[in-house]
Structures are given as C-alpha cells and as structure tokens.
Symmetry: C2
Subunit: 645 residues, 2 copies
C-alpha cells in the first residue's frame, strides 16, 4: 500500500482534455460487458428472447435508428452546456467528477437497485450504510450510535435535520402527556443544568428545554416503564406534534399549560443557504421563525451575536428549536467557528437553561474535514495538517478547529456531489444518535417485512422513498479511491483550497488600474469573491450594473454571445437585509458609502469557485491564473465601453 499513499490526483479524473479517456473507456466496457454476461449466465437455458432474424426486421431496425438518431441530437444539444471540466470554468461548484464515482454509478445503474429497502437492493443498501458510517467516522460521531444515509441533495438533508429537531423539541411534552395518560409517575429527565428532575413537575418552558440526548433517554425510560414498545410508541404518538398535527398540538399546549409560549425559532447565520427558509416554511415552523444571526467581516456567524441572541430569547422565554452553523457558505465558502458556536450552546444550557438541536450545514465544506483525519483514523494536530503547506498555507487554525468541532453537533449535512466531486444526486445527512430515526418513521407493510435487519430498510426512516442504489455505489467507489482522510479527499481539497488562495493572491497583486478590484477576505475554503469598479462609474447602481455585465460576458448564460467566454465566473449580491454591515468596508474601498449601500440594498460581486486541484500548479501550456486576470481586464475594458466582448 505504501506506493499508494500519495495518490496521483490527475490520474483519478477524466481530465480537461480527456487525458484518461482510454483508461476510462476500458472500465466502461468492462463494467458493461460484465453486466451483460451476468444476464446471459442467469438461466442460460431460457435462450435468447430476440432472434437474429427478428433483429433484421424493418421495424426493429427502424426503432433502433430512432434511438441512435435521438442520441445524436441529444449529444449535439449537450454541447451547448457549460464546460465544468475545464480549469477555465471557475463559476459554480460544478467540476469534473472522479472517474470512480462515474464508473460506480454507471455500472450500478445497469442493475437498477432501489435503496428504499434491502429487498430491492441487497448490495447497494449495504454500500449506502457503509458510506454513511465513513462520513460519521470522519465527522467524529460514535460509531455504534450514529445513523446516516444519502439524500437527493443538501436541501433534503437539511430538511431531515430540522424535521428531527422539530419532533425532538416537542417530544418531552408528548411524553409528559403520555405518562399522564398511562398514569405513570416518577419518570425523571436530565435538565440542561445537569440536574435530574421529575418529568411531571416541569413547566412548559422546561419541557421545551431538554437536550436532544436527554429527550431520547426519556423515551427509553418511558418505554421501559410501559413494558410494551409498540404501546409506548402509540402513547407518545397520540400526543406528539407529528401525530396530532401542529394546529391540534398548539391547542392542547394552550389548554394544558395556559400559555403556549412564543413559537420556537431556528437560528442561522445571515449567510445561510436559502433552503433553510424553504424548509422552515414547509415544516410549518414558519419563515418568520427563521432568525438570522449577524456574521462578522469574515462572513462567519458571530459567536458574540449568537450569545446575545440566546440571552434575549431566554429572557422572553421563547424556545429555540435549533441552531444551524454553516461550514462553507454557498456564496463565500466561509466556515463558521463551529467550535465557538458549540461552546456557546454549552454555556446556554448551563447558564440559561436553554437546550436545542445543533446542526452543521456542511453541505459545501463537510468533505474538508478529511484533512483532520490520518489514514489510521486518529485526529491530526493542526501542525500536522499544515506541515509543508507553503507557499499557500491552508487552512487557518480557526477553520481546522471548526472542522474538528463537527463532532459536537447533533447532525451534519455534507454533500458528496459538492466537494466530493461526484455526480448528482448525492447529498448526505449524519445523525449523532440513531434513536432519532423513530421520530420520523412510519410503517410500510409491503416493503419492510424482513424484520431481522431493520436498519437495512432505509426508506422507513427518511423522507424519500425510491432512490438510486447507483448513487450509493458511486460514492462508495470514490471513497475507496480517495478515502476520507488527509491522504485521500483531504489532499484533493487542500490542493483545491490552495488554488483558491493563489487566485486570491493573484487578483490582490494584479494591476487592474484604472479599474478597482476589491477582494473579500481570503476564503475559508475555495471561493474567491470580489467587486470591480471604475472611477467613471459614479453611483453604486451603475457599479452593480457593470459587475452584472462583466458576469454576463464571462458566463455561459450570455445571451447572443457569438462565442464562449475564455473564462467563466459567476456573481452574487451581498444583500443588506441578509448581510447587514459586513460589506461596509468593501463598499468604501470601492469608493462608495455605507449610505449608498443602504439605499441600493446590495453589493454585486463576482464569484469564483475553484474546483480544479491543479489551478495553483499548472501542468499544461497555459498559466490559468494569469489568463484569467488578463481576460477579466479585457472584459472590463470592453464592458466599460459598452461593447460586446
């Protein structure tokens, strides 16, 4: 294995010029033919369904001609797509994919397994559970207790985390009522202060401030006292929010406790992905209950602001449903100081009696946690992580600490189809405690009748039903070739992040005069954002419009562009209602005032996601950092003159 310790990264992708096409083609044929011969070897005595004579009949040939023809036309259309594979594409988080994931996906698709239940996917269900266990190990959850699975994407993973958080928040209330109904006395529960208390003596505020693990322990204790697990589950369900529905549950709260307290809030950094609003609305938590905690100038959730917010919520006795910390914001790849956030949560439990679910939305950055793991599974020290990292030192120590702190959360979203370089659909959710599964499960009589291996029937415990086993195989293959440690994904992501640092340094040092180029702080992972301007652009409105034109000229969506841009980027708007004062320094450096920013409502910036691990160490004939800077300058010049580049 020692020869393999330092994998050659360029050997694992198809390559911008299809450098590994021959190799991949062989794998493709191997996988395909292997499958075909599997078919032939299943009851060979059945004979061929189609005889050679049939095949030569005109309608047979005509049908296949239609298929060939339509494929050619699809292939022609696809070429109007975006060259994500190229080092010249530095836009969204899309890129070349690992050959391992592609071939794993394709090979498995031929077998058509459905991971809703092991019955329909005896092999790939196991691969999915393997993959989830690997992710949990990287995160640092206890192996015997964790539970996780793949989702169609990060939004559904986030949805599940909040679905669980909502159900667990109101669980002690349900157990309280169920114990009353069953006439059970003397159940105790651990409060955030560490004190144990009699369940029946808690008021509503206390019931809504039981830590997730303590709430699950309470259910275990209740089940043990009832004796019959099914009956215990029924009793709780009759009083649960999911069972009763929000409206009836609210009515019961008001009746039983007089004051139902204010609606529980979900705390997210103001940089949080828009899916959080979608999820809050869908779950009935309410868009108004999504509370944005301000970010600091590095676009990370401010731990101080979080602390203040928790204090004021506790003072008004408004419960907290969950706190979401972002590991890699979608627009800046900023990494919240999750270590500090987790400590604030502990402080809030101790000092304020507040308990809530802590979720890390690491859809973007989760795979970066691979840098913290040695191949033998132990945690690397920070010094080990950055040893020999010059000239670009990545990550900063705070990012390292945040990644290590993933183990202090209750759940984590992390998407293989983002920094895992794998095809869609492949999101993932990991939970610290597998007991949460029962909070969202329902019975499905026809699929789940094996009984002896419950965990294998993934569909029982998740929002989705039918799902591609091929996605699990793709992720599994990719993890085989690039394990979730510092020598596998850790190395790939380190090279990528260094590329982003190099681009940042190149733009910072570049001579764009008379244009202005104002960079956001160096990103925590792999995004470089910057505003551009020119002295002739007198208003922020004009400046934003200029940025938009530059974006159009350097994107695939340019309408009427006669040719493809030489380099691709994208853009975003730092909106006042989301970002607050964080962009003020940038606005000023650009020559405008904080008042301008307030008036306009946002600052348009260009945005480059570096996904190419070779950007900082070019091996082809072109220095892409230089090429990018030159193209940017040329486009700015022509857009300023109002010409089409």
């Amino acid at each position: 294995m020692s020869a393999l310790r330092f994998r050659n990264l360029s050997s694992l992708f198809l390559g911008p010029k299809g450098e590994n096409a021959h190799f991949f083609e062989n794998l493709l044929l191997e996988a395909f033919r292997d499958h075909v011969f599997w078919r032939r070897n299943f009851h060979p005595e059945d004979g061929f369904l189609v005889q050679e004579a049939d095949r030569r009949r005109p309608e047979y040939e005509a049908s296949q001609a239609v298929l060939s023809q339509e494929l050619m036309s699809l292939l022609a259309e696809l070429k109007a797509g975006v060259p994500f594979f190229s080092p010249r594409y530095i836009g969204h988080m899309t890129s070349d994919l690992t050959m391992a994931s592609l071939i794993g996906y394709f090979a498995t698709m031929l077998y058509n397994p459905n991971n809703v239940s092991a019955d329909a996917s005896p092999v790939t269900t196991r691969l999915e559970l393997d993959v989830a266990a690997q992710l949990a190990r990287m995160v640092g959850y206890p192996a015997e207790r964790q539970w996780g699975h793949l989702t169609s994407g990060g939004t559904l993973a986030n949805f599940e985390s909040l679905w669980v958080a909502r159900n667990i928040k109101y669980l002690p209330v349900a157990v309280h009522a169920a114990a009353n109904e069953a006439g059970l006395r003397g159940l105790t529960v651990t409060l955030p202060s560490g004190r144990r208390a009699d369940l029946q003596e808690l008021d509503l505020w206390q019931l809504l401030n039981v830590e997730p693990g303590a709430a699950l322990d309470l259910v275990d204790a209740f089940r043990a006292r009832v004796g019959d697990g099914a009956r215990a589950a029924q009793l709780i369900d009759r009083h649960s929010l999911a069972g009763l529905g929000s409206q009836e549950f609210g009515r019961v709260l008001a009746k039983d406790f007089g004051d139902a307290l204010e609606s529980a809030v979900v705390l997210v950094p103001s940089t949080a992905h828009y899916s959080w609003e979608k999820v809050c609305r869908a779950l009935g938590v309410g868009g108004a209950q999504l509370v944005h905690v301000p970010v600091d100038s590095r676009f990370r959730m401010s731990a101080d602001a979080l602390q203040q917010r928790l204090e004021s919520l506790a003072a008004r006795r408004q419960p907290v449903l969950a706190c979401v910390s972002v590991i890699g914001t979608t627009e800046e790849s900023a990494v919240d100081r999750l270590d500090q956030v987790a400590s604030v949560r502990e402080w809030a439990g101790r000092e304020l009696g507040l308990a809530f679910h802590l979720h890390a939305d690491a859809a973007w950055g989760g795979y970066a946690a691979a840098i913290t793991r040695a191949p033998d599974g132990r945690r690397h020290s920070y010094e080990e992580v950055v040893a020999g990292a010059a000239p670009e030192v990545w990550p900063e120590e705070g990012v390292y600490r945040a990644l290590c702190a993933l183990e202090r959360t209750d759940s984590v979203t992390l998407d293989p189809h983002k920094l895992g370089y794998m095809p869609y659909p492949a999101g993932a959710i990991c939970f610290r405690d597998k007991r949460v599964r029962e909070l969202v499960s329902v019975d499905a009589p026809y699929v789940f009748h094996t009984g002896d291996n419950e965990g294998a029937n993934i569909g029982r415990f998740i929002l989705e039903g039918s799902k591609p086993g091929a996605a699990a195989a793709g992720v599994w293959m990719s993890h085989k070739v690039l394990p979730l440690d510092s020598e596998g994904y850790g190395r790939l992501i380190t090279e990528t992040a260094k590329g982003a640092r190099a681009l940042h340094r190149r733009l910072a040092g570049g001579d764009f005069l008379p244009f202005r180029l104002v960079l956001l702080p160096a990103s925590d992972i792999n995004i470089v954002c910057f505003a551009v301007g020119h002295p002739s652009l007198k208003t922020l409105e004009d400046n934003n419009a200029f940025v938009h034109r530059v974006y159009l000229a350097m994107s695939g969506s340019a309408k009427g562009a006669a040719r493809r841009p030489d380099y691709y980027l994208t853009k975003t708007v730092l909106r006042r209602d989301q970002y607050g004062h964080a962009p003020d320094p940038l606005v000023q450096e650009l020559g405008f005032t904080a008042q301008d920013y307030l008036r306009v409502g946002g600052l348009a910036v260009l945005r480059c996601t570096v996904m190419d691990p070779f950007l900082a160490s070019p091996q082809g004939k072109v220095e892409h950092l230089k090429g990018f800077a030159e193209t940017l300058r040329r486009v700015m010049e022509s857009e300023l003159r109002g010409e089409v580049s």
Copy 2:
C-alpha cells in the same frame, strides 16, 4: 415515419440475455467519445494537463490500479443483486430499463448539469420543462397554464402536492387579513356554489372552503388592487401559514375568528401509499388528520364512502385540506374511479359548500394514461383503446374513464422510474395551474439572477435544490423513442398489463390441489396478488407463516439459500386496520373466517408485479407462465414439508 409507427418493443431494451448489447455498446462508446472530443475541442491550445511521461509514473499507475481493482470488486458484489431484467423476476416494480433512458442518463452525467438553475444546466433545464409539458399534455392540463418538474421520486412529488394544497387551503385567510391590514375593501371571491361574495364578509368556514383556482384568482385580484406585486406578496406572506408558522397561525385564527375549527383532514383511500402518512407528519398536518376512506372489493376508493365522509365532515364543519385518489395502488395496482371521485368533489362543492385540492397519486399508474392519447394528441375513445385487444382485454372501461379523469385534478404525481421503465431518480409532479409556484417559492440570490426567464430556475419553486440534469435527459430520450401515446408508452404498458392478465388467468386455471390458491380480482394494471394455503394449515396464523416461507423461498432475500430461486415474487399483508372488510371473501375462500382475520389482523398474500411486456407472448425457449406455476407448486410442496427448496 410510417415504418416507425409500430415500434418493436424488444429493440428498445438491453434484453434479458443482453440481446441488444452490441447496439448499446456502440451507443455508449459514441456518447463517451463524443464527450471526450468535446473536451479536447474546448481551447485545444491549452494542451494536455497530463503528459505521457506522467502517466507512466508508478503512483499514477498505482492510483489507477486501485480504481480498476475496486471496480472489479464492485462488479463482483453487484452480482449478488436481484435479476430485475429477467422475465423470471416478477416481484417489485423494478425491471429492465429503456436503453434510451440509460444512454441519455449516462451521456448527460458526463456533462454534470445541475437542474437547480438554468445557469448550471442551460440544456437539461429545457429538457426537464419539455418533459413536464409532455406529461401535462398526456394528463390533459391546459398547456399554457400547467407547471411541473421532475423530483427524486413519488414521495417528494406527493409532498409537493400536499405542501401546495396546505398553503392554498389557508391562502384566503391570509388574503383576508392582508386586505384588512392594507385597508382594502370590496375584494370578491367565488364560492364553491358559484356565487361571488365579498371577502370581508366570509366566516372562517367559508374562507377555508374556496376552490384552489378561486383562491389563486383572489391573490391576482389582491395584487392588482395593491398595485405593487412585491408588496402584495409581502402582505400576504405576513399572514400566511408558511410565513407565520403553524403555531402562530393557529393562535391568530383563534383570536380573529373565535373558533379555529377542527384541523383540516386529508382524505386518502385505505390503500394509499405509506408516504402519505410520512408527508402529513412532516408538513405538520398531522398523522391523525390522515383519514382513510374505505375501498371496495376491487381495492378502489369507494365513491359512496367518500361522499358520506364529506357529508359528515361538512356537518361538523371540519375542513378538508385535500383528497388524494390513487391511480395504481402500490400493492394491487388498483385504479380508483377518479372520474367518480372528481364528480363527488363537484357535488360536494355544489351541495355542501366544501372545497378542497384534488390530487391524483398516479406514481404507479400515471404512464398508463398514454393509452388514451392518439399520436396526434386527441383522446382515444374506449372502443379505440381496446380494439383488437383479444385475447386479454385491457383496460376495463372504468380504468379508462379514471385515466381520462386525470385532467379534472389539481395535481398529479407520476413516476418515470416506475411504469416509465427509467432509472432512478425520476419522479414527477404536474400542477394544473402554475400560479401555485409562488406559494412555495423563496428567493435565492446567487443562483437566480437572470430575471428574464424565471421558469427556467426550477430550484426556486420546488423542495429540492441541486438535482441531476442527467435524469431529465434520460426521461426526455425515452419519451422520444416511446412517446406518451397509444403507440409509444401506451403500447408498452398494454402489453405489460396483458401479461398480468395472462398470469392471473394461468393461476386461476392452474391445478394446485391439494393447495388452495385464492386470487385477488384481476388487477387494474399489472399486479397479481394471491393467497395460498393447504388443508393441513389449520389457523390463519399458520397460513400466513406458510405464505411468508413461500415468499422467502422465491425472493432474493432468502437467507442461506444455496442458490437463486427460479422465479421471484414478493408479498404483502392486507392489514385489517387499513383494508377493513375488503379481504373477507378471500379469507373465506381460503377456509378461514372473518373472525380469524380480525384476530390475526391481516392476510398475507403473494404479490407479482409484471413488468415484462413479453410475458404473455413468450419468444424464448421457455413458457414462463407455466414455469412460474410449476415453481410455485414445487416451492409450496417443499415449504409445507418444512424443507429448504
């Protein structure tokens, strides 16, 4: 085109023995090489990233050796999978896939488009919208008004339908409050009776009984009166359930209207898929609000029972959030008489003043609606559909009428990855009225800034975010080769359904004595369910256990089975709490009493899903219907003796 009118179905699948392997391999290579050369032609001057010399370095070869090695081991593992491709697999709804969808998926996966926004998928977003329009056309929704998209599966499609239904149910309440806040008077709304009424004069019961279209018209009228669309949306959102959250919304209802009425219910047939319970729980509607309407002896929702249920709900003034009708139940492929259900809805509006969303869960059977469409788009008469259908006449006229009635719903779930013979993930949802999109949309600043073509940014309007453009291309390709009409998918599904009829007839006429074999009524589409027993099995408990053993011996999940079964089937349990008295005749025919059934709580039956369009017309060397019956008999004999087959 005339030569192509009657497609040869066996030319469109890889085939149970890989009969079309050579053809498919050529397509595969074509798609792959075409993609590679696309890469090479993008800035060829950049040169190759990997030089031949690099490629020969030991770590390069070692990395690729790992990949090859792991692929071989994956391929070996996959062979422990289930032979879905074979006519001998008659278990779950999984089967061979159209080559068109496989090659479309694979070819597009190489380009890695993400259909969250057109920016990341200029080609495949269009293909997805095309596909949705094709489905809507088959269903019969007005082309200029419909909206639809692909989902990861039927569960998410069902989720979206109920999410929309929930938001639209409470929309008139929100507009009522918003109009109050804005001081707007004189807005009118159409009641189910057809009468127009002043919005401000409606009581809560009336506000919760506005038909979906009328509620959307009300929003339009409100927006026109406010003048500013953004402000109108904000005003409504401030008073909406999604904005306020369920708890706060419930409190406002109680405050504003005194009595908040009982929680709104969702009516489903007792055969409904378990995902409906999951969805009701997740959305906060509540598991308790899911009301099962009894089914008749054909396992179809009873229109009489539905009518009675609506009457009693109206009498107690409990609102109805939605009614779900199932087109192809998961366990029997029974098709509700949607034509009758839709008429009951009209009656309830007229006579009871009840209004609610009508959804068709046609995840299973939706593609069967292709039989009702001629290639030119007009609707076939029933006589045209069954012309020349002997010896197996399919469908019955009631099924035909139900399929035609899809056009009378507000939304439909229909899954390409089920009767569309396409790879996962490919579910789909169609809405009659695209205005519903705004009820579930949120803004996403960084992806949706093109502005000029909103519909192309699918992610704004759906639950999921990132999603595979490859899935859209797979569906699109398959629809090209097999259009959604009687000569495309209609023919494929007709052949399949006839196969199920033939299997039913074979089992009904087979001599299994002394075993008992009791068939469910001939299925509406493609599932054959039957119970088996033997005089020596004296209790229903023993009989159910026997059925389970037969299932294990004829399934891929048999533990310790030395070899694969010759034929595969699956099983299900008709549970008393779901099915009520519908299985009574079967139980009696099996030699037990209705009391036995009540005591045991369920009847175990074997279940065969026919997906092979050639089952009724064998072209190979084996008569599979005969082979299946013989295997079943042999397995029953050996399982009765307690031996391992």
